[in-house]
């Protein structure tokens, strides 16, 4: 069997392209969003309160959407699994948010941000969406400033910017190292204002466990009250999912422990297509795993690579302490391989190379899964004070977690899963293939293609929430009968609720011998090895053999403690892991089918002679959107072809 020979049997391909109509308007790209907004249908302000909107997830996208829709006058119910919408994981974003303000007069523009995002996404995103994102980025900053987000400022009182993630212009706005927190609190406060005004009701500690469709359209959800286990039905005229990414499928990631795929996976199983699930992003500068007990990974700002030098011993198995290894026996592998970019190569390149040296047995630290990030040269050159000024809080954080002092011992870093570009397929209106089901933020696949640029996640979440959904939801609702929200008592609702109850009862009844976490860890390790930083045919095939067995074992041998009618964190986890087990398989399948490397998806069979990701534009310039098949292993692939009328595909090169 040749390396690129098709193993088609694992999935079916649809010839019907009518399912995936992006709805992106034609015409000059700069006018498309305005043109589209003008053509939208509107709902009379007096009638808006007669429509019910469900928003699941209260991070940047969900919180912003719910607040904005509440302001417009719709009746909004917000659900989140946290005890308060203020805790959504958007809060953990550190670096900043991009916007094409060109406050620096350094040649930035909406078009340049658009261009950079399409190129950074390795030409796997929809141009119309990306352009709109760049366009509204400007309004996001204004909105947030007016809300009181304390962005960094200069002594003149104007907003400060920095260059982020290798961008050639300074377009990143930031609030110390807590930009995500401050933006989220802005959205949260706007949301609480609507709570007080009575337009929004927040339901914290509610897990969405099922989507309800009536005649093919999304009309409600089923939730589990995490305090007492009550299964509840909620109906609406439109449902928005803004539930974040699925990085926790890897068990260890920089996501919050509760981050999960259940909402979008349930929707997928009800008919929403899942696009590009294999597009996952790795962040190179995380603190390595310290042992079996490790529950999550902590990210440190990429800025560390500005002054730190990355190296490993030249000799495999060299167990000497770092200061015992002479200069001549160290391999500064990024500087060696990429002389012009050195340690500042993009995230995926840095990550892959770290994995490569560890695979060669040259990794450092107790687990061998780590590389040194050494500041001794920088300290010698600039002095410890200067380094402390730049990275003091990061060094403190590192020291707190590892008990090692990075001023004297080189830091150890290792890549970690950090963002997922894939998600539910949506059209230009952010509507999924299920009418009335809209998907926003990291949960959709839309704007980042195969790779997301630094400081763009916050931008996309807020763009979707503040500026896209409030228009497109109205346009959809205008087609729906007013004041006719279905009561949550029809067959669709009772069937959905029954499915939930059955699933809960089944999980509780298994009473096997393995904990949920042990399955989750095993799933994570398997995916990390076979569908992580680098993927190949054989590895993916193997994973696809093992995953169904693991899933079968889970449903046979998992031990979920307690009952359904109580606060039961084990049950919550079990439901999530059950969905991760299915999603993991789809990811591997997507990775297997996409026999090219692009962005965060690196197929070892498809690389340039110097080890760069090699796209195959001829065959793969499309969005791979998966329809859920009869069983978890029988999905159907649909393709949305991508056209690049403005930014012409080029090959990345960093050597």
């Amino acid at each position: 069997m040749g390396l690129l020979s098709p193993s088609r049997t694992r999935w079916r391909e649809s010839d019907d392209s009518s399912m995936l109509v992006s709805g992106a308007p034609d015409g000059p790209i700069a006018d498309r969003w305005d043109e589209h907004k003008f053509r939208m249908r509107l709902v009379n302000p007096a009638n808006r309160r007669r429509y019910r909107v469900i928003v699941v997830g209260a991070g940047l996208a969900g919180g912003a959407a719910a607040a904005s829709l509440g302001e417009l006058g719709y009746n909004v119910d917000v659900f989140c699994y946290q005890d308060s919408p203020r805790r959504a994981h958007s809060i953990a974003a550190q670096g900043g948010i991009n916007a094409a303000k060109n406050y620096r007069n350094d040649g930035d523009s909406v078009y340049r941000l658009f261009y950079d995002t399409v190129k950074g996404g390795d030409f796997r995103a929809r141009e119309s969406n990306v352009y709109r994102l760049a366009q509204v980025s400007v309004d996001i900053i204004d909105q947030c400033v007016a809300q009181g987000v304390p962005f960094a400022r200069e002594y003149g009182g104007l907003l400060d910017n920095r260059s982020f993630g290798g961008a050639q212009v300074s377009r990143t706005f930031y609030a110390r190292g807590q930009t995500g927190q401050q933006l989220l609190l802005g959205a949260y406060q706007a949301l609480q204002r609507q709570v007080q005004a009575g337009t929004v009701t927040v339901h914290p500690r509610h897990d969405m466990v099922e989507l309800v469709t009536i005649d093919g359209a999304a009309k409600g959800i089923v939730t589990r009250d995490m305090i007492d286990g009550t299964i509840e039905r909620w109906s609406a005229d439109v449902v928005i999912l803004a539930t974040g990414g699925y990085g926790n499928v890897f068990y260890l990631s920089t996501n919050a422990k509760g981050s999960n795929t259940t909402a979008i996976w349930r929707a997928h199983k009800k008919g929403a297509f899942f696009a590009n699930p294999c597009f996952t992003q790795i962040h190179p500068t995380c603190i390595p795993v310290s042992g079996e007990h490790q529950s999550k990974l902590t990210l440190m700002s990429e800025s560390l690579r500005n002054d730190g030098r990355i190296w490993v011993p030249k000799q495999a198995g060299d167990a000497r302490a770092p200061d015992q290894i002479p200069e001549a026996e160290r391999d500064y592998f990024l500087e060696r391989k990429y002389p012009s970019f050195g340690n500042l190569v993009p995230r995926d390149v840095a990550s892959r190379n770290a994995k490569e040296v560890c695979d060669q047995g040259r990794g450092v630290g107790p687990t061998g899964l780590g590389v040194y990030l050494d500041f001794s040269d920088a300290i010698q050159r600039l002095g410890a004070d200067r380094i402390k000024e730049r990275y003091g809080n990061l060094f403190d954080m590192y020291e707190r977690i590892t008990a090692e002092d990075p001023y004297t011992v080189p830091m150890r870093i290792f890549p970690a899963i950090h963002y997922t570009m894939g998600g539910l397929w949506v059209d230009y209106d952010l509507q999924s293939t299920i009418p009335g089901l809209f998907v926003a933020g990291e949960a959709n696949f839309s704007d980042h293609g195969a790779n997301r640029l630094g400081a763009s996640a916050l931008m996309q979440g807020l763009a979707d929430g503040y500026f896209v959904l409030p228009s497109t939801i109205g346009s959809y609702l205008a087609t729906q009968p007013m004041g006719k929200t279905p009561a949550p008592d029809g067959a669709a609702f009772s069937d959905a609720e029954k499915a939930v109850r059955d699933r809960v009862d089944t999980l509780l009844a298994i009473d096997g011998s393995r904990t949920v976490d042990s399955f989750h860890r095993e799933l994570g390790l398997l995916l990390w090895d076979r569908c992580g930083m680098a993927r190949n045919e054989a590895g993916l095939d193997e994973a696809l053999e093992r995953l169904p067995r693991l899933r079968e074992e889970f449903w046979r041998d998992v031990k979920v403690p307690g009952s359904g009618a109580m606060l039961n964190q084990g049950l919550e986890k079990a439901q999530r892991v059950a969905d991760f087990l299915e999603l993991g398989e789809l990811m591997c399948l997507d990775a297997l089918h996409r026999r090219e490397s692009c962005g965060g998806h690196f197929r070892e069979e498809s690389q340039t002679p110097d080890g760069e990701a090699q796209r195959d534009d001829e065959r793969f310039t499309y969005v791979g959107a998966w329809e859920h098949g009869a069983g978890p292993s029988e999905p159907v692939l649909h393709k949305e072809p991508l056209a690049f009328d403005y930014v012409h595909p080029t090959q990345r090169s960093y050597t």
């Binding site: 203020r86 809060i91 400033v145 962005f151 305090i227 011992v409 031990k559």
Partner: protein, 259 residues
């Protein structure tokens, strides 16, 4: 377990005294558990994860506790450890507290936040909805989406924005309430008020916001501030006491201007 230097860090044996409570209504009690094999490299919550894995396999109900990001920013985790909110290390949430802070043989008391306004839901999980309601009462700037002027239209002195940011660093964990001998939420409320009052954008609603948030704080049944300072010492973001002074000053200002 060994560190980068190759030194073996011995596992510790700890005794845990943990508050167990089945639900809101059932009275709770302290229950003793042994944790025989704790790595100093574990975080405090990872230590509880391991204890819970054993409880589950032994057929017992695992200890419920709130947690999410495990990197000290979401504000979910909320354990009282040996009488200290978030444990004995200053400026640290309990998710970022590591077991090397403890010694082999230690007995550790783990309790939920205690306040009438934070009813216990189960074990170590409490309801902090009161804090959300304080924010809903007025902790915002009313700015409908799409209406604002350019971000640079109003210059803000750097010192003002720095003070706003210091106060806005609050993660809403409730440690201030838990640590306060009076269970007062003044540091929480003061930090949101100070954040918004330090910025020009926050001025138009300043008086209304101050009175509404303070009234809601009182209505929730939190204690009053007696300026002891435990809140600020327990705050994982080390928010200074002067945000309470700012709140007090703004209450006076608001009532003066209302006349």
């Amino acid at each position: 377990m060994s560190g980068a230097d190759g030194q073996v860090r011995a596992a510790m044996r700890l005794t845990l005294k943990v508050w167990r409570q089945a639900d809101r209504k059932t009275p709770g009690r302290m229950v003793t558990y042994e944790a025989p094999n704790v790595s100093p490299d574990m975080s405090f919550l990872e230590m509880l994860d391991v204890v819970n894995e054993d409880l589950i396999l032994g057929g017992d109900d695992p200890i419920a506790f709130d947690h999410d990001c495990r990197e000290g920013i979401c504000g979910s985790c909320d354990l009282m450890v040996n009488g200290y909110a978030h444990g004995p290390r200053r400026g640290t949430t309990v998710c970022q507290l590591h077991m090397r802070e403890f010694a082999d043989g230690d007995t550790i008391f783990i309790e939920p936040w205690r306040a009438g306004s934070f009813p216990v839901i189960k074990d170590l999980v409490v309801d902090r909805g009161a804090l959300d309601r304080i924010v809903a009462a007025g902790g915002f700037i009313s700015v409908p989406t799409g209406s604002p002027p350019d971000g640079n239209a109003i210059p803000v002195p750097k010192d003002d924005v720095d003070r706003a940011m210091d106060a806005a660093a609050c993660i809403g964990c409730g440690a201030c309430v838990a640590a306060c001998p009076n269970a007062s939420a003044s540091l929480f409320t003061g930090s949101k008020l100070t954040h918004l009052a330090s910025l020009p954008q926050g001025q138009p609603e300043r008086d209304r916001r101050t009175m509404a948030m303070v009234a809601q704080m009182d209505a929730e049944g939190f204690g009053s501030c007696t300026n002891i300072g435990e809140c600020s010492a327990a705050c994982p973001k080390e928010i200074p006491m002067d945000v309470i002074a700012q709140m007090n000053a703004d209450v006076r200002r608001a009532s003066r201007r209302a006349r």
